[in-house]
């Protein structure tokens, strides 16, 4: 029987705090490198070098940018609503970071005689937690766009509202197939259930639906209608500069990490590797990170490859193709499992 976490089920209270700090620290140390990675890769895709001036190979570029953003004067349009304008980016980054908590980085380990799970917490509702956080993070985008008091921001946030609702359904239904197959919602439980076969094989359709919907949920190309620079300047964060802008930017990257991690957990077997050889537990997080990098590279690759959709194409694709496909996938899975 898989152990569901009652929170602190077997861990001392200080372990929770240490784990939270470590996960937060590592992710936020990796985030700036991810922006460099994306820009260098995009540069190569477009036949140019990408950032290569600051530090060796341009690796210190984000450092220079963070300093620049941090010392910028925080100003806002006169038509904006001060309180909400400041709170909105905080909501976006807060919910994105909160979703990091349930990502399973590794199996339960014995360290100094105590058992530690290499994950923040293992909640019994699993993916629903991520969806709950995504549901709240929407308000970060929505309020930011609305409180800016500018037409472009407003249009961007309106697009976000319609787009996030449309694709959330398909994303959720695609995961239900996995949940039905593994008979548990606990993310570590789902990974243990993939010991025989990774779910990308029996749930290939669900995997594809999940990935497409995830591109839309994270507002990444080709579904970045929310921040379409050709039409809306910058979408919901048009009026943001300095730290507010960085908060939105990092929230988008954290969301990308979370989605990659969920895809790794649900479809690629998390920390498992083919053949299940016995390996020391400290390698687990590196395996998970390597699998996540595949998805992150895919995100960047797609951004460099595909043009942006038109808005009506986005909507009809979400409701008329993706949702029926997800429903059929769910039904077939349910029948096969039953």
């Amino acid at each position: 029987m898989i152990q569901f976490a009652d929170v602190n089920y077997f861990e001392p209270w200080w372990a929770q705090i240490v784990k939270a700090l470590v996960i937060f620290g590592i992710v936020f140390a990796v985030l700036p490198m991810l922006t460099v990675y994306e820009r260098k890769l995009l540069g190569r895709f477009q036949g140019r070098y990408g950032p290569n001036r600051v530090g060796p190979f341009g690796l210190l570029q984000p450092l220079a940018e963070i300093v620049k953003f941090a010392v910028k004067e925080p100003f806002r349009p006169t038509t904006s609503i001060g309180f909400l304008f400041r709170v909105a980016p905080a909501i976006a980054i807060l919910t994105a970071v909160a979703a990091l908590a349930i990502i399973p980085w590794g199996n339960v380990q014995h360290i100094f005689g105590t058992r530690f799970g290499l994950y923040g917490i293992d909640v019994s509702v699993g993916p629903l937690y991520v969806f709950a956080m995504a549901g709240i993070s929407f308000y970060g985008i929505m309020l930011g766009g609305w409180a800016s008091g500018s037409k472009y921001s407003f249009l961007g946030s309106m697009r976000a509202a319609a787009q996030l609702i449309s694709y959330e359904v398909s994303q959720g239904l695609a995961l239900v197939g996995v949940v039905i197959t593994s008979q548990t919602l606990s993310l570590t439980g789902i990974i243990h259930a993939q010991r025989g076969m990774w779910y990308i094989v029996p749930q290939l359709l669900g995997f594809l639906i999940f990935m497409v919907a995830s591109f839309a949920e994270t507002n990444r190309a080709p579904f970045d209608l929310v921040e379409a620079d050709a039409e809306l300047v910058g979408g919901y964060f048009t009026e943001y500069g300095g730290t507010g802008f960085v908060a939105y930017l990092f929230a988008e990257y954290v969301n990308m990490i979370v989605v990659s991690a969920i895809a790794t957990t649900m479809f690629l077997g998390g920390w498992l590797i083919p053949g299940n050889p016995s390996i020391p537990g400290w390698i687990d997080p590196f395996i998970v990170a390597a699998k996540m990098m595949i998805f992150i590279t895919l995100f960047i690759w797609i951004r460099a490859t595909l043009p942006r959709l038109r808005y009506d194409q986005l909507m009809s694709f979400g409701w008329k193709i993706l949702l029926p496909l997800a429903t059929v996938n769910l039904l077939v899975t349910a029948i096969v499992v039953a």
């Binding site: 019994s124 509702v125 937690y129 549901g135 929505m142 309020l143 309106m158 919602l185």
Partner: protein, 218 residues
């Protein structure tokens, strides 16, 4: 610890609920309702109903309220709605009736819950597995009834939102879509050498459609 969390969540829920009815701007009312629902989810979490808490946030805060915000942000900000005289009298009456009813229900339990320790925690309580089992065994009929209700609502929405026949002539609409602009203002149509639609022509088309409609009617 749980007492502190309870009071934070309870104050949040009450403040949100009061905000919904007192704030004048509908947009802020909706935001207050979101705060209320999230605080309620925290209360569910304290009761170890993890699934209910997650569903509360996903369904209400994440989907239903998003549509509210969407609609209010689009059409909100108009003049305030003035309640009629009948509503102004009936409103407080209904509120009073509800308050009395709640008081009767609460006092009727002799406040035994205050002194007691509450129901003991059973392992597995509040997990999706347990809730699913209850839905499909003890509460199957209400569950199916609720699904039917939702289905009716969904079909009703589609029927109401459907484009009614006979109101618009789609052909006329497509012809009118080409808004005419003065000659030599550099329209795409001009560049492509397409025939330009002049206002007189549109008037003629419209009149023709009117004529056809009255013909068909008579």
């Amino acid at each position: 610890m749980s007492a502190v969390l309870f009071f934070i969540a309870a104050i949040g829920a009450l403040a949100g609920a009061i905000g919904v009815v007192t704030l004048r701007n509908p947009f802020y009312s909706v935001l207050a309702l979101v705060c209320h629902l999230v605080a309620l989810a925290a209360l569910f979490l304290l009761l170890r109903a993890e699934f209910v808490a997650a569903a509360q946030v996903v369904v209400y805060a994440g989907a239903v309220m998003v549509l509210y915000v969407f609609v209010v942000a689009y059409v909100g900000g108009g003049e305030e709605y003035q309640a009629g005289a009948a509503l102004r009298v009936l409103g407080p009456l209904f509120a009073l009736a509800l308050a009395v009813e709640l008081c009767i229900a609460m006092l009727g339990s002799a406040l035994s819950g205050i002194g007691g320790k509450g129901a003991p925690y059973v392992r597995g309580f509040g997990t999706p597995r347990e809730i699913g089992r209850l839905f499909l065994t003890s509460y199957l009929f209400p569950f199916e009834l609720a699904s039917l209700l939702l289905l009716v609502a969904a079909i009703g929405a589609v029927v109401l939102a459907r484009r009614r026949r006979g109101l618009d002539d789609p052909e006329l609409e497509s012809r009118l879509l080409h808004t005419p602009r003065p000659v030599f203002t550099g329209t795409m149509a001009e560049a492509a050498g397409l025939p330009r639609i002049v206002p007189e022509l549109i008037e003629a088309v419209r009149a023709g459609a009117e004529l056809e409609r009255t013909d068909a009617g008579s």
